[in-house]
Amino acid sequence: MQDKYSKAPSPQVLLSKVSVFYPMEARHNFHMASTLGRLFGVQESGTNKKKRPPPALKSINLTIQAGERVGIIGRNGAGKSTLLRTIAGILPPAAGTIDVTGVVQGVFDIGVGLEMESTGRENVVFRGLLQGLSPDEIAAREEEIITFSGLGSYIDLPVSSYSSGMVVRLAFSIATFLEGNVLLVDEVFAAGDMAFQKVAQARMSKMIDSAGLFVFTSHNLSLVSEICSRGIWLEKGEIKFDGPVDDAITAYLERAV
């Protein structure tokens, strides 16, 4: 994969004073009672009152250069997945600048977004299209993905007829055969039964080796230590530590856990 991107500029991620708020449109909404109340000067109180949502990321400054393997650690709700999705351009920043160079490939919630009434093969095409690939590019990889999934003749049956393990195998196979030199992985490493986990881990290792830049979030600290050289500890949307991965894990364990 590196050959493919050899003529492209080196991958890089720069975040400058980036703040992100969760989309809160569902709460901050139009309600007839509150609108009429405002018209007649009645003050809202309690849970109905329009409140500014808490920031998921607070003024983050971060630079990730080509060749870096970065592990992001922290408690649930610390902002790890939000940070990855912000780098991927999925969540818009409320303030600050995100400057990404490279072809971004995110591996998030791999089982989410499959079309359950469509066949496995149709989902391969669908997920490829979702990542912006052309039908020709998908066709070139289709058989490889299907072979890797090990689903055999089940690939032409609706996904709704699959066991949960088969769904994970399909989703993992699709997600990890897409290309990019800025690789963002959210908690995805183990998939399927023992036999498939082995090939899945080998596949992930190959992806990481070929990625120009790798950012990974996980609660599995030994795995983070094994595959990353730099560690970032996030707490309540702020960077508490940024440095060598083992030092980051030590700081996190001493001060947060």
């Binding site: 500029p9 980036v18 703040s19 992100v20 708020f21 449109e25 569902a26 909404n29 139009f30 309600h31 007839m32 500014r52 999705r85 991927a88 351009g89 999925i90 818009p92 920043p93 409320a94 303030a95 600050g96 600048t97 995100i98 400057d99 990404v100 160079t101 490279g102 971004v104 995110g106 998030f108 919630d109 989410v112 977004g113 079309e115 009434e117 469509s118 095409v125 669908f126 997920r127 299209l129 979702l130 990542q131 912006g132 052309s134 039908p135």
Partner: protein
């Protein structure tokens, strides 16, 4: 909350040029989602595509018989075409506006996977509704041709232009409805109610003359669906060329709706007119 951050990918933010270039990159996904919506629609009709075409025909037949008797005699064959044209055009409008309210909410699992222009999900709904509209038009033309209650003539030659104008005019409602339905969820019941009220304030199945009373005249003149129905019915049923005023009113609505949709899209997606 006003968002002031920037996302710069490979040196550029989303401008109108590269936003539509991104949309073009996802054109196959757009087509896939539209055909997927069509599949769901057919599945919802018990797997029968013919039912989708037959449904408005049966409905208009019932309306024509019931209201033909209520308002006394008249040309039932002509009234069936009148009602069917009303249902086909109004269902296109209602399907675009009312049907788009959940589009972005339903697309959330996909939108969380990759940076995709949301217009992909909004325009796929326009395409899906336009395909249904085409099926409706085919049914309408078939009924008009065999009913014997209409005047067939050269005026029918203007119908492709009329249907294209209606399709283009109302297509941006999917963008507006989709964004409002997602960002202002509390407005959804009001929009559904608005569509229902508009159904009765538009000559869908009630005789057109009744809408020329002084109370409704101005509203009917400004109502793009009423004007669209005049554009369809005058050549199709009465064998005459439609009024240029109707073309103008619908054309102005096309400009208003597209401008509003693109403006709303640009603020929602933070599209700029030029690169930084």
């Amino acid at each position: 909350m006003k968002l002031k951050g920037d996302y710069i990918l490979n040196g550029s933010v989303w401008t109108w040029d590269n936003y539509w270039a991104d949309f073009w990159r996802y054109r196959h996904l757009t087509a896939h989602l539209a055909s997927s919506s069509m599949r769901d629609k057919v599945r919802g009709a018990g797997g029968d595509l013919l039912w989708i075409i037959a449904h408005p025909l049966i409905l208009s037949g019932i309306f024509a018989v019931v209201f033909g008797n209520v308002f006394g005699g008249g040309n039932i064959a002509q009234f069936i075409v009148y009602v069917l044209s009303g249902i086909v055009v109004f269902e296109y409008f209602a399907g675009l506006l009312g049907g788009s309210l959940n589009v972005l909410t339903n697309a959330q699992p996909f939108l969380k996977q990759a940076r995709t222009p949301i217009v992909v999900y909004l325009l796929q709904h326009s395409i899906f509704q336009s395909v249904l509209f085409c099926y409706g038009i085919l049914g309408l033309i078939a009924v008009a041709a065999i009913s014997g209650g209409v005047k067939f003539g050269l005026s029918w030659a203007v119908l492709p232009v009329v249907f294209a104008l209606i399709a283009i005019t109302f297509a941006p409602l999917a963008i507006i409805g989709g964004l409002v339905g997602y960002k202002k969820k509390g407005l959804r019941p009001f929009i559904t109610y608005f569509v229902m009220v508009l159904y009765y304030l538009t000559p869908v199945f009630i005789a057109r003359d009744l809408f020329d009373s002084s109370a409704l005249k101005l509203f009917t003149f400004l109502n793009p669906i009423s004007q669209s129905l005049d554009l369809v019915r005058i050549p199709l049923i009465y064998g005459k060329l439609p009024d240029l005023v109707s073309f103008s009113v619908v054309g102005i609505w096309a400009i208003i709706l597209w401008s509003s949709a693109l403006l709303y899209l640009s603020t929602s997606e933070r599209i700029r007119f030029s690169a930084r």
